[in-house]
């Protein structure tokens, strides 16, 4: 599975079927069974999230996308494989997830609240099966406000359909939010463009990027900028 992958699906816009809206294309959804089986109270929270999506989506702050969202977010990620682990390196935010495949178990303490969860995987034939637990409740599942609680438990199944096509399934369980487990299925394609590479994207630096580097290359500092520095020897 080593290589650079990306989905062409609209999963990050909405996991559920939708006819399209100003900020999302139409999509048939990626959920087995069509929709997310929210508990009534959770459905109300999802609606609140949806209404606030243009400001409240953690993606807008470049926060770590979480699992499974990072996988179907429309920006490439790179898989690096060793026998003991699989490194999933996301271009978005340069966040890095490790899937341990060395037989180690989830940590004994279960309140770590990882943004990406704790991932322990094993191979079943040529399918990588990953158990992911111990989540923060601060990540969203898509741009439509779909969400989960700390109790999220994800089971992933990664399977190569051919050398350049990867089938990714994830089953989500969360008894505080969903009435039953539900499964998404997205296809990932290998980037085969000449010299394609991840480009560092620490997008959380954008709010303060403007202040650096200092001095600006087009504004040589001979004038003694910035404004009134304190304590500078003449």
């Amino acid at each position: 599975m080593s290589g650079i992958w990306q989905t062409t699906s609209s999963a990050d816009y909405n996991l559920e079927p939708e006819g399209g809206r100003d900020d999302a294309p139409p999509t048939a959804g990626v959920i087995d069974g069509g929709s997310i089986p929210y508990l009534p109270q959770a459905l109300a929270q999802k609606q609140k999230n949806f209404d606030a999506r243009l400001t409240a989506d953690p993606r807008l702050k470049c926060f770590t996308l979480g699992t499974p969202r990072g996988i179907y977010y429309p920006e490439p990620f790179q898989i690096f494989q060793r026998s003991q682990d699989i490194t999933v390196f996301f271009e978005f935010g340069d966040s890095v997830r490790t899937i341990h495949t060395d037989g180690t178990l989830h940590p004994v303490d279960t309140d770590n609240e990882f943004w990406l969860g704790d991932s322990r995987g094993h191979w079943e034939g040529d399918t990588l099966v990953v158990d992911v637990t111990d989540f923060s409740d601060e990540t969203w599942l898509d741009r439509s406000g779909d969400f989960h609680s700390h109790d999220l438990h994800v089971t992933e199944r990664w399977h190569l359909l051919d050398a350049n096509t990867l089938d990714y399934q994830a089953t989500l369980e969360d008894p505080k939010v969903y009435s039953r487990p539900w499964t998404i299925d997205v296809i990932l394609y290998r980037h085969r463009e000449k010299n394609f590479q991840l480009i560092e994207n620490y997008c959380y630096t954008h709010p303060f990027d403007q202040y650096y580097p200092y001095p600006k290359k087009d504004a040589p500092p001979t004038a003694g900028t910035p404004s009134t520095p304190a304590g500078v020897a003449p």
Partner: protein, 338 residues
């Protein structure tokens, strides 16, 4: 040195756990023959490691196997050219004198021989200005970007906490405390010049025991220390990671060329040592926790590194620096607890 950890933000819990992980993975104290912890962190000298053949084990693609956990052996990022000295002008500096200069580790600038960054006069003036204003930053540019969770960049990543190196066919991946870096082992062209990045764009190859990396496309927003040394977007860096055949140490030797900021090319040398399960996790150089692996030999788990998600900001430290009469009570090291 750390910000107060907010218990309101439950995502900090793993960090607290890491902070509390004082027990060594395999033993309660360093194995016999190892120097005490402080001695490992603050060595006074830089070992000489010669570039030459690699005699150690290799990976399947032929690369020397240098994977694992590493950290610098001299001091943290406080002072770039006097690593064990105080930060000039720091109101929080300890009253105790650090002693004569010759009793401290040498400058990280190994060439020129005076140990100073050969700034052009205007650039020296700016560095001094940035330094003088760093303790009570009244303008946004006086806050070092690392304090806002930005990547530590090149070269500071190598003396800002420990880090992990993973190797794969055709690649070397660095997982720093603040930021990550992919080094392609290929001669494919660098990214277009107008793309500027915190860690730049890296192409590497092995020459015996030495990993040689050409770094371009640096945005030069990261600074080299709390002493505020810097380069410009025109900088070009050639790194040489010279690994000792004992597999326990290496020197990071990087040459910086930027005629718009420096009078000449200059070189920094940063010694590093390997950390293993025999070492005690210390919240700084070796941030691991024993994996849950019943019946197996000790395996270190590296917890996820997040910063901006929990950062109510250095942001906040900077603000308090602006709105209170004193200087910040904590050094801006937002990822110390990550």
């Amino acid at each position: 040195m750390r910000r107060t950890v907010s218990v309101r933000n439950s995502s900090l819990l793993p960090l607290v756990l890491v902070l509390c992980a004082v027990a060594p993975l395999a033993a309660q104290s360093p194995p016999a023959g190892q120097p005490p912890l402080m001695g490992q962190r603050f060595q006074k000298t830089v070992p000489h490691i010669e570039s030459g053949p690699w005699k150690g084990p290799r990976l399947s693609d032929g690369q020397p196997d240098i994977q694992g956990d590493w950290s610098n052996t001299i001091a943290n990022h406080n002072n770039f050219t006097d690593p064990q000295g105080v930060i000039p002008g720091d109101p929080q500096a300890r009253r105790r004198s650090p002693g004569p200069r010759e009793e401290r580790a040498p400058s990280r600038v190994s060439d020129p021989s005076d140990g100073q960054v050969p700034f052009l006069p205007w650039a020296r003036k700016v560095q001094e200005q940035l330094l003088a204003n760093s303790f009570d930053p009244v303008e946004p540019e006086f806050v070092e970007p690392l304090a806002r969770c930005a990547p530590a960049g090149v070269p500071k990543s190598f003396y800002w906490h420990g880090y992990e190196i993973r190797q794969f066919p055709g690649y070397i991946v660095f997982l720093f405390n603040s930021g990550s870096r992919i080094i392609q082992l290929s001669d494919s062209p660098h990214l277009p010049k107008n793309i500027k990045l915190w860690n730049g764009d890296s192409r590497g190859h092995w020459e015996g025991n030495t990993l040689v990396v050409d770094v371009s496309n640096l945005n030069s927003k990261a600074r080299f220390g709390r002493t505020q040394e810097f380069a410009s977007e025109n900088v070009h860096v050639v790194e040489r990671y010279i690994f000792d055949n004992d597999r326990k140490s290496y020197n990071y030797v990087a040459t910086f060329t930027d005629p718009t900021v420096f009078t000449r090319s200059w070189t920094t040398t940063i010694p590093a040592r390997r950390y293993t399960v025999a070492d005690r996790p210390d919240e700084w150089h070796y941030e691991v926790k024993p994996a849950n692996a019943p019946g197996k030999p000790p395996i270190p788990d590296h917890f996820e590194r997040v910063c901006v998600e929990n950062d109510e900001g250095f942001g906040r430290v900077a603000t308090s620096a602006q709105t209170t009469s004193g200087t910040p009570t904590t050094a801006p090291q937002p990822t110390a607890q990550h």
